[in-house]
Amino acid sequence: MSGKAGNRVNPRVVLRRWYGEGPLHLLLLAATFALAGYAGVRLLGGDTFAIVVWFIGSALLHDLVLLPLYASADLVLRRALGPRTRLVNYVRVPTFLSGLLLLMWWPLITRHAVRYEPYSGLSLDVFLGNWLLITGLLFAGSALLLVIRAARLRRRDTRGRPSASH
């Protein structure tokens, strides 16, 4: 745009200069905040402070604690295995799956969910055992897969050798 007087002002250009995005962007976000505001005042109608802490806190806890924690664990694993990078996934995958179950069912597995037994008439004791069983099966399956693949590789190597000596 030239700044000369008399030039017609293009509203799209003005919006982009002041807002940084197109009109659709503004429209979508306006709709979002209108709806989120309408629901939000109702959401916060109870214990406002605690609900804000839970809502915002869950995002912060994930981004600044959980994710760095499992990324660091992954780093430690890769460090521990050193140059044997092929082994990483045989540990990474069962650890991820087992950890995921532990994270999601923490109250059941740690017997924290004290209402469960009196309400449902079911035992809480089974969950720790079942989690350990599933974890054991995952690692056993992973180890089995590793052994099979290693054996297959070795067979391919030994079969390859005589032909190479010809």
Partner: protein
């Protein structure tokens, strides 16, 4: 997954390759371009996860809204845990009584698909984490607004998943009643989800049309791909398979909670999974035992009477008198808002419409307010709509699977209505008031 530089030694130690590339501190911060090094990240990886979540979270939102409608909240205040909903209840409708497995299906999907989507959500958030630290944090007014909406999106999604997962484990540590938190929280999340879908879906589709998952998209700047990637330890396909493996494992260990018998035994790690509370005809799943809500054998003993009221006045009936009325059967499940269900049980008792006739509504009965002996609890009173009272399968059940009800299943008498959420199938019923609700 391959963020090699992340947390090297201590999280703030200097990555080797960053030395001599300008001020030392910039390379060790998560805002540095070289900080996030996993070769798995990239717009295509994120787009695949985004499209799965678009379908999955839409399903969760819709089935969640259906669950609210299934309570018939606009019928009577006792059914509505979010009376201040205003326009958010715009879609409410009379919940039907057929097919009889309707709520078992919709709520089973809501909870089971929700459980299975957790790894997808976590992977999606992992895939975009570098953008959280991007510099400058705010480029323009539009960018600032979008970032606030992303806080609602991520906070909302996590809030919904966390409250849901805690609620089905009966771990009520969240700040307030589950119903308003999960319902209004869902709307806040959905508002941000709409904008995010509108802004990102075209790009996701374009990027995925472009071909292979591995590598970067030609002609597109891939702002999620690491500029200085570490040696790959897993392919993008492999990372997706690992995420999908998590979903599959969660499905296997939880989906069986919607069925009796061997399928439930497979559901090893989920509430109401793995085991039945007891043997025999009354051995199917219990939401709340009599002891948990303070109902004793004395409450349900000889002195128990059912009071039926309507235009014909108040009629008091003993269990023997109820058993002397026409008995009818219906094969119906118990389907809980917590996502578990039983298979069809064979209930036997008096039709609600026969009791309505007794109360003075010989034809076209209205709704009914049902009250329990139970002294406390959110649903000790519940209202049923006229279509539920009129359904021939809607019973005041006295027996199940050929035996008298056990105390835990509502002896002396309980409501069982096809397709209704479990909490509306009131146990230990003591009063039925037929009236236009």
């Amino acid at each position: 997954m391959g963020d090699r530089r992340f947390g090297k030694g201590s999280p703030f130690s200097l990555p080797d390759s960053a030395t001599g590339r300008g001020p030392a501190f910039t390379g060790r911060l998560p805002s540095a371009p070289g900080f996030w090094r996993s070769p798995v990240r990239g717009v295509r990886f994120t787009a695949v996860l985004g499209l799965i979540l678009l379908a999955g979270l839409t399903l969760l939102f819709v089935t969640g809204l259906l669950s609210y409608a299934a309570y018939n909240p606009d019928l009577a205040p006792v059914n509505d845990k979010t009376p201040g909903k205003g326009l958010l209840g715009f879609y409410l409708f009379a919940w039907p009584t057929g097919p009889h497995w309707l709520y078992r299906l919709t709520q089973g999907l809501h909870v089971t698909v929700g459980i299975a989507l957790v790894p997808v959500l976590l992977a999606k958030l992992w895939s975009v984490i570098p953008k959280l630290f991007v510099l400058p944090p705010v480029r323009s007014a539009g960018h600032a607004l979008e970032r606030v909406s992303l806080l609602l999106l991520v906070g909302g999604a996590l809030f919904e998943f966390i409250t849901g997962l805690l609620n089905i484990q009966l771990e009520y540590v969240f700040p307030g009643s589950f119903y308003p938190l999960h319902f209004y929280g869902a709307w806040v999340f959905f508002a941000a989800f709409l904008a995010h879908t509108g802004l990102k879906l075209p790009r996701a589709v374009r990027v995925l049309r472009g071909g292979r998952l591995e590598g970067s998209a030609p002609g597109e700047a891939d702002e999620l791909a690491a500029p200085d990637p570490a040696l790959p330890t897993i392919s993008r396909r492999g990372a997706l398979a690992m995420t999908g493996g998590g979903s599959l494992l969660l499905l296997i260990t939880s989906a069986g909670r919607s069925f009796d018998g061997p399928l439930r035994q497979v559901a090893l790690l989920t509430p109401h999974g793995a085991a039945e509370p007891g043997p025999g005809p009354n051995g199917f799943q219990i939401n709340k035992t009599a002891a948990a809500v303070g109902v004793t054998a004395a409450d349900a003993g000889r002195d128990w009477r059912l009071t039926v009221s309507g235009p014909a006045g108040k009629i008091r009936l003993s269990r023997e008198q109820l058993l002397a009325m026409d008995q009818h059967s219906a094969a119906l499940p118990i389907a809980c808002v917590e996502g578990w269900a039983t298979s069809d049980q064979w209930w036997r008792g008096v039709r609600l419409r026969d009791l309505a006739a007794l109360a003075g509504y010989p034809d076209r009965p209205p709704g009914v307010l049902v009250e329990s002996v139970q002294r406390s609890g959110a649903f000790r009173k519940a209202a049923l709509r006229d279509n539920q009272v009129r359904d021939p399968r809607a019973l005041l059940a006295l027996q199940v699977n050929g035996e008298n009800l056990s105390l835990d299943h509502g002896y002396p008498a309980r409501i069982i209505v096809p397709a209704a959420p479990g909490v509306l199938n009131t146990k230990w019923v003591t009063r039925l008031t037929f009236e236009a609700l």
